[in-house]
């Protein structure tokens, strides 16, 4: 079941070294406001006592990650002191001396070691392949797809975030489940939840899987649940692990009576349905449909133009988007939609579990479903679906197809994050590199069953090229640049949401049909 890593593991270290070199070269590239966010958190965890962490509001970037991350920043701040003491001063807003930049970037690069370890573990979980050529082996392809993932490079090392380290923990947890070390997997996931609560998106998959496959130790002959095999001991053990982690994390704040304040900071629902740049999900399509209907309505004189809400696309950063024709969407509606979208998947792994791989598939569906229907989703969240999908992509042809569509569209939707001219050649070059590699290696891997993508899908993906040319080069030179400055963002978002929706539907179909196949094939 577990594929032994070849004795010659030098290729893994060469890949890791190569990507680290690229990260080092990106040290002085553009960084977004997230850089200042993290600097501010270093300063506040260092200079203030714990009781003030979630109340501090000198800077607009208040602490909105769970406590374990705050402790992580506190640990980093002690090393930061050696680089530049000034960055730890709270009111040094937007302080970005060269030493600060160097320290922060190096901290991301060093914490990526967690990702390296996780990728190594994931490669061990793949089925063994006897291909002689190293470039054609699934473990090599998986290592490149994960280590050199375009989205991670762009978001972490240019835009500035700590996703490599967080996704490393997620992938490690998945790898542990694939290796049947469920306690460690659960422990890692609890730690992860306390580092960044966005991973709540995939928590339902964990809960249902662990309950079904771990707490109930045996299945009946036909694969259905054997209620009598419930192991109370395991449930208690899991529960205590989770509770103790949460206790360590939230304990101090509960003791200080600040629990509600922490929750308020973690879940700010005051923000609008969509981010300023619409993430390519269902709501982007909803918004555009609403806009189109309103324009048609005004043209046909069915609607009164003066009665329509003024928050429109013609100017300004749109946070609150009032819909004119279609009904407005509230946070509750999005929650219900999300739950409805992931329920079938959860039912699937409850009634027809497919082992750890079924769990992985369900995890991806949960991540993608929450991305599609969530409230105020950031486009970076697409990485939560793309990275775990890489594991499935190197093993099955259908998953490779979905992976190609999802990763190319998802990565392209990250382009607006880097809008500076200097970063343009970098982002185009890295994107081409990753796309060409993933396409050619996956095609080579599954060449026996014909071509991976059909003509419609290929056409859609090729359509991204003219879209990029229009948005980046042609549009800024036209007259519409002044009157509709957000048109390129809207076009990108809508075009990508088509691809993401398609990938979501296909993924669901593969989930529902694979469970049927599982009854015939021996699961792992």
């Amino acid at each position: 079941m577990a594929a032994p890593m070849t004795n010659d593991q030098s290729w893994f270290y060469a890949l890791a070294f190569g990507v680290t070199i690229i990260k080092c070269l990106l040290i002085n590239a553009y960084h977004s406001t997230d850089f200042e966010v993290h600097r501010n958190w270093l300063a506040l965890t260092h200079s203030l006592p714990v009781s003030k962490w979630y109340y501090e509001a000198t800077s607009e970037w208040t602490l909105d990650y769970p406590p374990l991350f705050a402790w992580f920043e506190y640990g980093l701040s002690h090393i930061a002191r050696l680089f530049d003491e000034e960055m730890l001063v709270l009111w040094n807003l937007n302080y970005a001396s060269p030493a600060t930049v160097l320290f922060q970037r190096l901290s991301v690069i060093v914490t990526d070691l967690v990702l390296f370890y996780a990728v190594k573990e994931c490669c061990k979980c793949l089925r063994e392949d006897k291909a002689k050529d190293i470039l054609g082996r699934p473990c090599f392809i998986l290592a490149v797809l994960l280590l050199w993932n375009f989205g991670l490079l762009i978001v972490d090392h240019i835009h500035f975030q700590y996703n490599g380290f967080l996704f490393g923990i997620l992938l490690l947890s998945v790898a542990r489940h694939l290796q049947n070390r469920h306690f460690e997997g659960a422990l890692l996931f609890s730690i992860l939840l306390n580092l960044k609560h966005i991973f709540l998106y995939v928590a339902p998959a964990y809960v249902v899987f662990l309950l079904r496959c771990f707490c109930f130790t045996k299945n009946n002959a036909d694969g259905s649940l054997q209620w009598t095999s419930f192991s109370f001991l395991r449930l208690v053990a899991l529960g205590s692990i989770v509770v103790s982690i949460f206790g360590v994390s939230f304990g101090p704040f509960i003791a200080l009576g600040q629990f509600s304040q922490v929750l308020l900071r973690l879940f700010p629902f005051k923000r609008g349905l969509c981010h300023a740049y619409w993430a390519p999900n269902i709501w982007a399509l909803y918004n555009i449909a609403d806009k189109v209907f309103s324009i048609i309505g005004v043209k046909l004189k069915v609607l009164d133009a003066s009665k329509l809400p003024k928050a429109s696309m013609t100017g300004g950063l749109v946070q609150e988007f009032q819909h004119s024709v279609l009904p407005s969407v509230s946070p509750l509606v999005t929650l219900v939609c999300t739950l409805l979208s992931i329920l079938p998947a959860l039912f699937m792994i409850w009634f027809r579990p497919n082992g750890a791989r079924g769990f992985l598939r369900c995890l991806i569906v949960c991540a993608l479903g929450s991305f599609m229907f969530g409230w105020h989703v950031h486009e970076k969240a697409i990485l939560m679906a793309i990275l775990p999908l890489s594991l499935l992509a190197v093993e099955s042809r259908e998953d490779a197809r979905i992976f190609l569509i999802l990763s190319i569209t998802g990565h392209y939707s990250l382009f607006p994050l880097l809008f500076t001219t200097q970063e343009m050649p970098i982002k185009i070059f890295l994107m081409l590199l990753f796309t060409i590699f993933s396409f050619s290696s996956l095609r080579l891997l599954f060449r026996k069953a014909g071509s991976l993508l059909n003509s419609l899908e290929t056409l859609y993906l090729l359509g991204l090229l003219p879209l990029e040319v229009i948005c980046e080069f042609i549009f800024p030179l036209t007259l519409w640049q002044k009157s509709f400055p957000f048109m390129p963002l809207m076009l990108t978002s809508v075009y990508c949401s088509l691809g993401v929706t398609y990938a979501f539907i296909r993924l669901y179909i593969s989930l529902l049909t694979s469970s049927c196949k599982a009854k015939r094939i021996k699961t792992q």
């Binding site: 060469a14 070294f17 070199i21 470039l135 500076t420 001219t421 050649p425």
Partner: protein, 458 residues
């Protein structure tokens, strides 16, 4: 800030706004003291084309006088793009069509050549257009190797008209083509071939210099700008005359440098003349440019790039020695890079190049005497385990270079010797280059005739 980027922008301003005849003259509109044009006409035409495009984006960039000090990222990007389009295809073409080996080896070679830190740092960090002229020269080399002599000479003449430093490569081109013509027979086809090549070269020169040929005074002025005769105040970092500059008069120094250059260039050129093969051609390019670099009178540190390009072309045949040379060449430019604040890119690119090229080209495995092309030494030291000793010397030399880099950055020189570290860097580099030049000359001159001891003999 006000560095080479401003020079390039200023040339665009000058070429766009002033008539051709005034480009190289010191007039009220064209102050030659402020980044005056000092490259041949093709650079000026390139600047003119860039100026036209720049003007489309934003006329303010090339306004006479008022645009000084102007910086723009889109502008820089556009200028870089024209550069890259010549050099990178040439490298890829070379690796995929003219190199031996499996496709993976070809990809590895092309990656290593493109990663050469010296060119990357100077062109992208320092902001220059060396890859344009080097790319053209490379197309010239490719043309000659494929037997398209006309195309090759055309490309090289264009390179020469872009930067006069390409003269370093001129002698091997000349000897190779002449040797080929002699082989074809000087009384028959060879003569016709020679005439065709000469015509190509002359016509190309005429086209480039056309606006200046109307009046011989113009051409002389251009030449005056290209080869200034003012005394070199520049401290020639790798020139051995640094110690005797005060002892000898300027004329004697010129004569001495000329004599030494000729001395070291002649053997390799003559050998190329007698045996014009592609391998000999590449080695002759290395030897000639190294000789010019070491013994010429007024040399800039960046001229090592002209020697580095031919060495990149032999990286697949002699990986260890070539990698060693390329790393030394990057190290020799350290003082320049530190001045530009390129320390971090220098460290990262050098490390990347070292590890990736050693790994991809299996440099440490290919160290048998045969593969290292150490046949000249085999006669004198037959029992010496050259391979292992070369490896250890390589590592030792790298450690020395790394230590010196580290001390240049972090330690303060003693008050009496403020230039201690740059001088140490140049002395160390000079010794390395001298050794390399000896080695490459021996490899070229003592190439055995039999095919048994060489993998690649063309």
């Amino acid at each position: 800030m006000f560095g080479d980027y401003e020079a390039q922008r200023h040339w665009q301003e000058v070429t766009y706004n002033l008539p051709v005849q005034e480009w190289y003259y010191n007039t009220t509109n064209n102050d030659l003291e402020y980044w005056g044009l000092d490259y041949p006409p093709l650079t000026a035409y390139h600047s003119l084309c860039c100026a036209y495009v720049a003007q489309l984006f934003n006329p303010d960039w090339v306004e006479l006088f008022t645009s000084r000090g102007f910086e723009s990222h889109s502008h820089k990007l556009f200028m870089r793009a024209t550069d890259v389009l010549i050099y990178i295809p040439a490298v890829l073409f070379y690796c995929f069509y003219l190199c031996d080996g499996t496709p993976k080896q070809k990809v590895a070679t092309s990656l290593c050549i493109l990663l050469y830190p010296g060119l990357v740092l100077i062109d992208y960090g320092h902001f220059q257009y060396n890859s344009f002229s080097l790319g053209l020269a490379l197309w010239g080399i490719l043309g000659l190797s494929l037997g398209w002599d006309m195309f090759g000479s055309l490309a090289f003449t264009l390179a020469l008209n872009y930067k006069q430093m390409e003269l370093y490569h001129a002698l091997p081109f000349f000897c190779y083509l002449l040797g080929k013509c002699i082989r074809l027979g000087l009384t028959g086809w060879g003569f016709i071939h020679l005439v065709k090549i000469s015509l190509t070269v002359l016509v190309t020169f005429a086209f480039c210099w056309m606006p200046f040929l109307s009046d011989p005074k113009h051409s002389l002025q251009v030449l005056h700008r290209l080869f200034p005769d003012k005394v070199a105040n520049t401290w020639c970092s790798l020139n051995v005359l640094i110690k005797i500059k005060s002892l000898l008069s300027r004329e004697t120094q010129l004569l001495l440098s000329f004599a030494l250059t000729l001395l070291f260039v002649l053997p390799s050129s003559l050998k190329l003349l007698t045996r014009p093969s592609f391998w000999q051609f590449r080695l002759a390019l290395v030897n000639s440019s190294l000789a010019f670099f070491l013994f010429s009178f007024q040399v800039h540190e960046k001229s090592i790039l002209l020697a580095a390009l031919p060495v990149c072309l032999i990286i697949s045949e002699m990986p260890l020695v070539a990698i060693w040379f390329l790393l030394t060449s990057t190290f020799s430019m350290l003082p320049l890079l530190l001045k530009d604040g390129l320390l971090l890119p220098y460290i990262v690119t050098s490390l990347a190049f070292l590890f990736l090229s050693v790994y991809l080209l299996s440099a440490f495995e290919r160290i048998t005497s045969e593969e290292l092309r150490f046949y000249p030494y085999q006669r004198w030291l037959p029992k010496f385990n050259l391979g292992r000793n070369v490896k250890w010397t390589f590592c030792f030399s790298l450690v020395t270079m790394a230590t010196l880099s580290f001390t240049s950055v972090y330690l303060k020189p003693p008050a009496k010797l403020p230039d201690l570290f740059p001088v140490l860097v140049s002395i160390l580099s000079f010794l390395h280059f001298l050794a390399f030049m000896m080695h490459f000359n021996l490899v070229q001159l003592m190439e055995p005739r039999s095919k048994k001891s060489l993998k690649k003999n063309n």
